[in-house]
């Protein structure tokens, strides 16, 4: 029988772990890269404007980032499961108003925060149910709930407004004070971030979220309770949006029917800039929080170095495109390395 000869000549000796190491690095470095950009940017700004990283400057920076980081944490969990929640801006708005409304009537601050979280969680249940049971793409479902929630908010709030004067002093102080330069709000956000990050890394249900986003079909075959996990992700995301609403109220003391309008897009940008793959299965909440910090820092950096703030939106957009481009290029390079590696191992086996 005729067997064709197979001339195999690879110049290099196969180094089976090279591609693997590269992969490891890519996964770990993604967050580091965001952190690096952030540090460089802040230091450069500080050099040109020494007022920038003053005590008040740092405090403002952290306060501004806190709310976005909280919502981005929840959003990251949803994105890791290969879904998205566009209703977070609306949920933030309605939770903030709910908490404010309750405090106006003389309620306790702690209960107000819990109330906001509960309102957020209820909308999370709604989103989760629609996405997991309806089997409708999350993008469309949550676009729908975005408008529905905003509509309910508008009817409820009407032309009312909550102002800081209506709120208990303790609650308003909580929104401004802190330990040295670190505001209480930021401490709370960091605590939440660490809990969620630890949950995703160290609990079976947390690992299930990654499995689900990486390959829904394999997750089903592996016995991952798909619907339950999607529900968990949305409830968590909703609850964090609710918490962020309460913090928003504490920080700004001012809530009306437009609060949180358009916020969802900033949140999604932060998550993607922070290295959470939009196709699910990879990324961390820490990355998302760093992304949030980076995006909000730009808001402060540009005025500090004398650039008009009208540029902020455009620069945010460019950052987003850059982040996606970097991810894509890295993915292609990793794929090329893996293919080459497979070819080498194959020819080594044939040699």
């Amino acid at each position: 029988m005729a067997v064709t000869a197979r001339p195999v000549h690879e110049d290099t000796v196969p180094e089976p772990t090279a591609g693997r190491r590269l992969l490891d690095k890519v996964f770990k470095v993604r967050e580091l890269a965001v952190a690096g950009v952030l540090v460089v940017m802040l230091l450069a700004t500080e050099l040109s404007n020494t007022e920038f990283l003053s005590e008040q400057g740092v405090k403002d920076l952290l306060l501004n980032a806190t709310i976005l980081a909280l919502v981005a944490t929840g959003q990251a969990v949803v994105v890791i499961t290969r879904n998205v929640d566009l209703s977070v801006g609306s949920v933030l708005g309605i939770s903030a108003f709910a908490a404010g409304n309750y405090l106006q009537g003389g309620g306790s601050s702690v209960l107000a925060v819990l109330y906001a979280v509960a309102v957020g969680a209820v909308f999370g249940v709604l989103n989760g149910a629609l996405v997991s049971l309806g089997k409708v793409p999350a993008l469309v479902v949550t676009l729908g709930t975005l408008y529905v929630v905003r509509g309910i908010d508008s009817i409820w709030v009407g032309s009312d407004q909550i102002v800081a004067a209506d709120l208990p002093d303790g609650f308003v102080d909580f929104g401004h004070d802190g330990l040295w330069v670190v505001p209480y709000l930021a401490l709370l956000a960091v605590a939440v971030l660490l809990c969620v990050g630890y949950y995703l890394r160290s609990y079976r249900s947390g690992r299930d979220m990654y499995a689900l986003g990486s390959s829904p079909e394999a997750a089903n075959l592996a016995g991952v309770p798909v619907r339950k996990r999607i529900m968990t992700a949305y409830v968590l995301c909703g609850a964090l949006a609710g918490l962020a609403g309460a913090l928003y109220l504490a920080r700004f003391g001012n809530v009306d029917s437009a609060t949180g309008n358009g916020y969802e897009l900033t949140v999604v940008s932060a998550v993607v800039v922070g290295g959470v793959a939009f196709t699910g299965g990879s990324g961390t909440v820490y990355g998302a929080a760093l992304g949030a910090l980076l995006l909000t820092s730009i808001n402060s950096v540009l005025p500090a170095i004398g650039v008009s703030s009208v540029w902020v939106t455009a620069i945010n957009g460019i950052l987003l495109l850059l982040a996606i481009a970097v991810d894509r290029i890295l993915a292609l390079r990793v794929a090329a390395v893996l293919r080459k590696q497979a070819a080498q191992m194959r020819s080594a086996r044939h040699a």
């Binding site: 067997v3 990486s214 990879s282 044939h350």
Partner: protein, 503 residues
């Protein structure tokens, strides 16, 4: 026919199970009993319903009628998790891994060892994985992400996954398809140990010698129906093949003599890094060339590159003396090439569109003028080909998703034959279709060849390759390892080349 069965209650059994998908009846009243300490083979041709049966046992599909029995008591598996908790481990033919997660996590997903407060013990996960790999004699890093693993390595991860819990029932759907000889031997060693420890094993393989080597009992399926369950002792390979095919091979493979003409398709040193390497072959007018090999050997990838769906890194493709521009399927179509893809549901058809529209997709050049479509021309062209290929339908406007698998395949064929190809590449043309339609498809391919069309037929169905091809190319791990004339083609020679066992 009587055959002694063990007196004990089967660990897992199916009684009178039927399952339909739309118009396709995948299983019809099938029964199967798996006993502790026994390896049971499941035999049948492609499309006989083996995979559906496995999915019924694994809780993926719920039977329409009939029952699943666990230790003699009826159970209902509401999902794969239920089956897994009942001790049923399944190794699927197509590995289903999480590309973003590490190998260790892939193996223990949902069952990770835990430490205090229910936290996942990542170190224990890694150590347990390393221990499993040591037992299997596999050299893989538990920390490596599953993305980029070869099919064989993926299969090994699947096997490790199935072994990682104390399975009472181990189901293996062609686990050896991509493995080397030593890996197969080691797997069989582990399986035999498990069986001796009292596990029930269900084993599917196209390699009959593996069935005879590993198993004690065999159940045969044909066209979704139960044919026989019997001990393998005293059965010959020929007996088994006869039960599987159930008719004379001549009838199923109506090969006509055709005049072999000039070279129509010439592929020279085609390479796509890491996928296939240095692939060269020719197909002449009137010739049916079979392209055999195991799943993942790179056959479909070669076809896709030839047709221009995927790019390639080196080499060239010539159709009727004209070099094709790489990566341009529409130019390939113009040059007289047609590709009937492997997965008709995902690649061959637009499932929500009508028969008429699906066939019309390849004919816009003929059925439109100045950019405007002529519906009547499209309709008559579609009708013409549907009738020629005897597609069974109620109305041409019916959505193709409602047709049976065999009829869907005919629509895909019609869609491409309507372009009047000189070179036809068919990828798994009869996968998952009933025997009757299968014979029709074979007759069609044969008559096309007789009319002077050059046919390249990719198939995992060995009898089909043996019955239809004038010449057989065999691929193994991205390379063409053998080219066999019809006179030298046997199951053994093809399998030897496909598993890389030739020197």
């Amino acid at each position: 026919m009587t055959h002694p069965e063990p007196e004990t209650t089967p660990v897992l059994a199916l009684e009178g199970v039927s399952k339909s998908f739309g118009a396709v009846r995948a299983l019809r009243g099938v029964s199967l009993r798996l006993y502790a300490g026994e390896a049971h083979a499941l035999a049948g041709e492609n499309g006989a319903g083996k995979s559906t049966l496995i999915k019924a046992l694994a809780g993926v599909h719920r039977p329409d009628t009939g029952t699943v029995l666990l230790d003699g008591a009826p159970v209902e598996f509401h999902g794969p998790a239920d089956a897994r908790d009942a001790g049923v481990a399944v190794i699927y033919q197509e590995p289903t891994l999480f590309p973003d997660l590490s190998i260790a996590e892939n193996i223990f997903m949902g069952r990770q060892p835990r430490r205090s407060l229910g936290r996942v013990d990542h170190r224990a996960v890694k150590e347990a994985t390393a221990a499993l790999f040591a037992r299997l004699g596999v050299d893989l890093d538990p920390d490596q992400p599953a993305r980029g693993l070869s099919i064989a390595d993926q299969q090994l991860v699947e096997i490790a996954k199935a072994l990682s819990f104390d399975a009472r029932v181990l189901i293996m759907d062609e686990p050896t398809a991509a493995l080397t000889g030593s890996e197969v031997a080691r797997l069989f060693g582990v399986v035999t140990t498990l069986r001796e420890q009292g596990a029930a094993v269900l084993f599917i393989s196209h390699r009959l010698e593996e069935i005879f080597g590993l198993c004690q009992r065999v159940t045969t399926l044909r066209d979704g129906a139960w044919v026989a369950s019997e001990p393998l002792d005293g059965l010959t390979e020929d007996d088994l093949v006869r039960r599987m095919v159930g008719r004379d091979l001549d009838e199923l493979y109506p090969k006509q003599a055709a005049e072999i003409g000039e070279v129509a398709l010439s592929v020279r040193r085609l390479t796509r890094e890491g996928v296939f390497t240095d692939v060269s072959f020719e197909v002449r007018r009137g010739e049916i060339v079979g392209l055999a090999g195991l799943v993942g050997a790179g056959r479909s990838e070669v076809a896709r590159a030839v047709f221009g769906v995927d790019r390639f890194d080196g080499g060239e493709v010539e159709v009727l003396g004209r070099t094709l521009k790489p990566g341009a399927p529409s130019l390939a179509m113009h040059a007289g090439l047609a590709l009937v893809p492997e997965d008709r549901r995902a690649q061959g058809l637009v499932m929500d569109m009508s028969i008429e529209r699906n066939i019309g997709l390849t004919g816009f050049a003929d059925t439109s003028r100045a950019g405007l479509m002529n519906r009547r021309a499209e309709r008559s062209r579609s009708l013409d080909w549907s009738v020629k290929l005897q597609v069974k339908y109620a109305r041409l406007a019916d959505v193709v998703g409602t047709l049976s698998g065999g009829n869907q395949q005919k629509v895909v064929l019609a869609k491409w034959l309507a372009t009047g190809p000189q070179v036809l590449i068919v990828d798994e043309p009869t996968r998952g279709i009933d025997v009757g339609t299968k014979a029709e498809v074979h007759r069609l391919l044969s008559s096309l060849a007789a009319e002077g069309v050059a046919v390249l037929m990719i198939s995992s169905d060995l009898p089909e390759i043996l019955g239809m091809a004038d010449r057989v190319l065999v691929m193994h791990e991205g390379r063409v390892t053998a080219e066999l004339p019809r006179s030298e083609v046997t199951e053994e020679s093809v399998m030897a080349a496909a598993t890389g066992r030739v020197a």
